[in-house]
Amino acid sequence: MIGIVELGPLWLTLQLASATVVVLLILGTPIAWWLAFTSSRLRTIVEAIVALPIVLPPTVLGFYLLIALGPHGFLGGPWKDLTGSALSFSFSGLVIASTFYSLPFVVQPLHGAFEAIGRKPLEAAWALRASKLDTFLSVASPMAIRGYLTAIVLGFAHTLGEFGVVLMVGGNIPGQTKVLSIAIYDHVEVLEYAQAHTLSAGLLLFSFIVLLGVYTANRRFPLHAT
């Protein structure tokens, strides 16, 4: 049953998921913070937009991203002028696409965590001479540690599992955009079930271990807001 497989797609997938998670934490933190504490009417609209990738078929998202990332798209055009290379069918393009695709899986746990903390500890920190940034770093983020853990794992795991968006935006270029899920599809297409088994079982096991790790860690951080 076990087939010999090339490790290229696995390596590429891990790189993609890691890069995506890093980008998402940087982008997702301010979005989640804003969602948790704003009283603006735009909040509901932004919340809905952030949640879109959950309900949209990946092909729809992939289609629009393909256009946006293309040499004449609003992202791909300036990128090409700047770097000389196209965004579509490239690793960078994949990172951008995955960022959109996995956005809710990072923003929502963070949003929930910040909301659970609420204003009260922040006000307490301000009254103890902490600036807003200081308060975020020394009070809010340590208190949101479980939210961050969940966000990292879900963002990572969800990026591992994407298929439709990656196929449309990245194509299937070995070493550049051929990720694990596409490699599995390729093996099945040519009836290489043994290889497909190896990769699928590997992904399954990996996902399970990661989730198990998260839930265990979540129990280890019994943070009660007072």
Binding site: L128, A130, L223, T226
Partner: protein, 365 residues
């Protein structure tokens, strides 16, 4: 002496705060009023947690808000300590970490209050290495007070710091608040809807009504006024008298308190001779007789008094409040019928019978 001058005008959908305050920044200044009168909002404005679009706030020569000049200093840059209703300790830090949080963030040169001093006064040495979630409510609130003190604030704001505690814990924390004033010389603004706490603690009182300052002044003066009926619940109307424990009567289980107009006998108090005790004599517990009774009375406290002022007579209300002088002000609530029968008028010499003396039993027993 430095003054606290503040003025805020702030509108919420269902509430309008329009408060002007000018009080000596000294001792404990209590803000008192019923729920919903804007006490907490006023305190949040003073702290800078709410920004009133029309507002100013000065402590001595330090200006923290002046909207005319577009000055607004955020809370994190004001030397203010804030103790909230709930302790709001940081759960990810130990007690020590919580105490040092603000202390680390102020310059070494402004540290007037030391860690050891606070730990000792608040009696929290044995708690330092613990996590806040493992402490009782009273312990947590003491840490919250200590944490605020360690920023060496110029003004300490306390928002009903005892309200989340049960009686037992209140008794545990109250003495520490009393000590703060004498130990650290920080003016404290203390919000409460519990008159007993205020009688116990405050030097100056601010009465709030529907978002406006209705009355402000030294607590004995404010509480000896006749026109407070709308501001203070009936069962709380009454003059405050500062006394000194003079004698313990073991045989009858009584304590004799001396005050500027003579003596009061009260049920036995566990207090040392010479100790100061502020008592409240509720207006409803005082009756007036025109001449000393020729018969024996069971009322222990019978004092000579002069009628000072007769309160507003309301035809729809059977009672009227009388202000007496017994060496200090005393309020009495009597019926309009009695007023007519005794033919009371200012300057008249009468006797006041005091049926009971309120001693904040919630706190002292």
């Amino acid at each position: 002496m430095s003054h606290l001058s503040a003025s805020f005008d702030l509108t919420f959908p269902s509430f309008h705060l329009q408060a002007n305050l000018d009080v000596p920044a000294q001792g404990i200044i209590a803000i008192f009023g019923p729920s919903g009168c804007g006490k907490t909002t006023l305190l949040r404005c003073l702290a800078g947690l709410e920004r009133a679009p029309i507002g100013s706030m000065l402590l001595g020569k330090h200006c923290w808000q002046d909207e005319k000049q577009k000055i607004f200093v955020p809370l994190s840059q004001r030397p203010i300590g804030y103790v909230f209703q709930e302790p709001r300790l940081f759960p990810h830090l130990t007690v020590k970490g919580n105490l040092q949080y603000g202390w680390k963030r102020i310059g070494e040169s402004v540290r007037r209050i030391t860690f050891d001093q606070v730990v000792e006064v608040l009696g929290i040495t044995h708690l330092l290495e613990r996590r806040p979630s493992l402490l009782s409510g009273g312990e947590q609130q003491r840490i919250a007070i200590g944490r605020a003190l360690l920023t060496s604030p110029r003004l300490l704001l306390m928002d009903e710091p005892l309200s989340s505690l049960d009686l037992q814990r209140k008794r545990e924390v109250l003495p520490f608040i009393q000590k703060l004033e004498s130990e650290f010389h920080i003016p404290i603004i203390y919000v409460s809807h519990d008159l007993h706490e205020i009688v116990e603690l405050a030097k100056t009182v601010v009465l709030l009504k529907e978002g406006k300052v209705a009355e402000v002044g030294p607590i004995e003066e404010v509480f000896s006024q006749l026109n407070l009926r709308q501001l203070i619940p009936d069962n709380h109307l009454g003059a405050l008298i500062d006394t000194i424990v003079a004698e313990q009567d073991q045989e009858f289980g009584l304590t004799k308190l001396a005050f500027s107009g003579g003596h009061l006998h009260v049920p036995h108090q566990h207090r040392a001779i010479g100790e100061r005790l502020r008592v409240q004599i509720l207006a409803k517990d005082v009756s007036i007789i025109s001449s000393p009774p020729s018969f024996q009375t069971s009322v222990l406290n019978l004092l000579e008094a002069t009628v000072v002022e007769i309160g507003e007579v309301n035809i729809e209300h059977p009672f009227v409040d009388i202000k007496l002088d017994i060496g200090c002000p005393l309020l009495a609530t009597i019926t309009r019928k009695s007023l007519a029968t005794l033919n009371l008028h200012p300057g008249q010499r009468v006797h006041a019978q005091i049926k009971a003396v309120a001693l904040s039993p919630e706190i002292h027993q």
